[in-house]
Symmetry: C2
Subunit: 129 residues, 2 copies
DNA sequence: TTACATAGTGTTATATTATAACATTTAAAT
DNA sequence: ATTTAAATGTTATAATATAACACTATGTAA
């Protein structure tokens, strides 16, 4: 296990507590009272947290969420569902899906070490609206 | 079929000719001689081209490539391989993969209308380096 | 425990990516 | 011909992200 540094811990905590993906400058705003004043301090912590799998970046939204899977192994194999109405994002934890994708090989003979999948649609709540 | 407007055609052409994904401001630089002067003119064309499936955005790279599939149907089901060394990006056209993902349903009962998948690794050339 | 290397911090400045707002023009549909 | 929708041109600005440099803390190994 990895021990987080001071800034990493502060920033992880705020993302982990959030019920929705957080953007970098929103994080910055929220941690200024804790002494983190500059964007770079946030981005450096984010980079590290992504690297060790504690958080994931939702690429289509430029936002970050805490990993919902117990383990960090899966930081190289991420899948999310995104509601295009309410913007709720959920990490998908489905072994069939991860097996299928981890074993996927394309014609070009490229061997993949990582993937990121984002599904878009409407969540249950938003469908009925 | 859709007829492209003047700006849309100019911007599609330059992306289509490019052998690598193009970034918005690189596109802007390259079309200034054609009278397109402002970022917004580029972004508006990009938005439309993405909407109609002529190009795709590589989210992890903030860059755009022309659709490599003959049809525009697939604009809602995109998959790419990205070499992390040379940054070569290739659109994956694999019916097993697209069937699997199009039929995928998660526990939450959310029905997906769209997905985007990005694989990362090393291409053949870069493996042997 | 000192020295060395590695990782993390603080700070200022700046680069890159993207949109708001508004006036005008062109194309398409009735 | 008139109306409507789509596209354009323009200026300004918002939002996202990194470069560069000086300094500090932490872990490792002699």
């Amino acid at each position: 296990m990895h021990t987080l540094s001071k800034n990493q811990q502060i920033i992880f905590d705020i993302i982990d507590k959030s019920r929705e993906p957080m953007k970098a400058y929103s994080i910055l705003f929220n941690v200024q009272k804790k002494g983190i004043k500059a964007p770079l301090q946030v981005y450096r912590a984010l980079d590290k947290l992504v690297e060790i799998g504690k958080i994931h970046k939702i690429e289509s939204r430029n936002a970050f969420i805490a990993c919902q899977n117990s383990s960090c192994q899966v930081s190289k194999a991420t899948a999310f569902s995104i509601c295009e109405s309410c913007e709720k994002v959920t990490e998908i934890n489905n072994s069939s899906l991860s097996k299928y994708l981890s074993n996927f090989k394309d014609k070009a003979g490229m061997k993949y070490s990582k993937y990121n999948l984002e599904f878009f649609g409407l969540c249950k709540k938003c469908i009925t609206k």
